[in-house]
Subunit: 265 residues, 2 copies
């Protein structure tokens, strides 16, 4: 079912540590929650390793599906495994150019952050690496770390690159991205939650199936947990209109009451 | 860089709670770690919502990339938001058929698990829903919950569906999937880790860049954390041969020693 007329987003998280199971992808969860709260429908989350060709392919796949927003995290730093800007340039057929505003941001962050370490002869090269962004992109200041974020409008899609370090990702997103997304976002769908204790999903399934037939505009989701006598199910009714979600939840509560009665009689 | 000649896998995790940021995707991390330890290269992890057309598209995209293994989690239960088997059937152009072995498994699980709840007239329908799998697929017993897993060879790819409930997913994977994957898996790449305290990624970047040039077969990854005087970087050297990873790590340690010397002098 796809009943929501909302702007769409995809999230692409880059990092070999993610696809090798060395790090739980909390960035994706955080971003997904933020986007959803802004009234943007997240259609998919993808993780890929630090391999340029695979990042390019993942970006191209996402752009082909033309979401309104594509958020990419990871791979913006100074080291050889940071390849996101290069991949975004390739995926969108743009040149990777040294952006003077981005270079200024990197230099300022460098001065702000480096209080105890020496300069190094290769420093300008490394600073320039972080200031090279796809032609037409805008650099976003990083209030916490070194690498700036970038935003780039490509076709219908606003592509935003953020660092993989959670504190940096959150800081740039909160300060320079979220406001734009709130303007873009539609109305988030309404949700009604009913928690049912001491019951398993299978017992509820026929009732939920009936409700799904009766309320075709309501997205009915059930999340089982526990087992045996500790079985419980959280049922969520999601709909574009509050009244639809409430109606479905009320109908569910009524059938639940009948079920409880038959269980105890 | 892609220097590893290993069998490949993709992971597809299904659930609206994932793409709305309501649940952290620990299933993907757990599976990715298991696959990596079995010598299988995880190429990507994708999450999608409980929408049949989007699950079908995600499965078809994955099959087009033809990984050796495709693990799909979520959407196998009895409720209307469980759509994975139907989507797998559609994505592979197969019929969804009632599998007698799967039905037997569901009935057995039902007897085993249900000690306190009544039968319901719609029960056979619900049991059958969980026993409908794509033609040619094999049902995998669920030692913990109700819904069986399935495995299906499609073209080059072994597609495996597991429930989204973590305990069920892990139980089926451990008992009925991991053994096959160990047989399929190649040799996992070797990794050498060097933790560097009181340094930031930017200071290390030129050295890592030099090493990347010198050791083209080594995948050099750096994970920065902390800031200011608490900056630290974990550097991991990954290579098909242990000797390559060790050589790169030793060369890195030598340049680090010179750097430390210049920092303190």
């Amino acid at each position: 079912m796809q009943v929501f007329n909302m702007p769409t987003a995809e999230i692409l998280t880059i990092g070999s540590e993610l696809i090798e199971g060395l790090r739980v992808n909390t960035n994706a969860t955080w971003l997904a929650k933020k986007l959803t709260s802004a009234g943007i429908l997240v259609k998919s989350i993808t993780s890929t390793g630090d391999i340029t060709s695979e990042i390019v392919a993942a970006i191209q796949d996402a752009l082909r599906r033309a979401p309104d927003v594509l958020i990419i995290t990871g791979g913006l730093g100074p080291t050889p495994d940071d390849k996101t800007c290069e991949a975004l340039a390739r995926a969108t057929g743009r040149k990777l150019v040294l952006d003077t505003a981005a270079l200024e941001l990197v230099k300022m962050s460098y001065v702000r952050l480096r209080t105890h370490l020496i300069d190094h002869k290769a420093l300008p090269t490394i600073q320039k690496k972080m200031a090279c962004i796809p032609e037409g992109a805008t650099a976003l200041p990083n209030p916490v770390g070194l690498a700036p974020g970038t935003k780039l409008k490509h076709g219908k899609t606003l592509a935003i690159c953020l660092p993989g370090v959670p504190a940096e990702m959150r800081a740039i997103f909160t300060k320079y991205v979220y406001g734009d997304l709130l303007k873009l976002g539609g109305r988030a769908p309404h949700g009604e939650t009913v928690n049912v204790e001491k019951i398993d999903e299978m017992t509820l399934a026929p009732f939920l199936e009936e409700l799904a037939q009766k309320f075709p505009h309501v997205d009915i989701r059930s999340y089982p947990s526990g087992k045996g006598k500790k079985s419980r199910v959280r049922v969520v009714f999601v709909a574009p209109k509050a009244i639809d979600a409430q109606d479905a939840a009320m109908a569910f509560k009524a059938s639940l009451k009948r079920l409880r009665h038959s269980l105890t009689s």
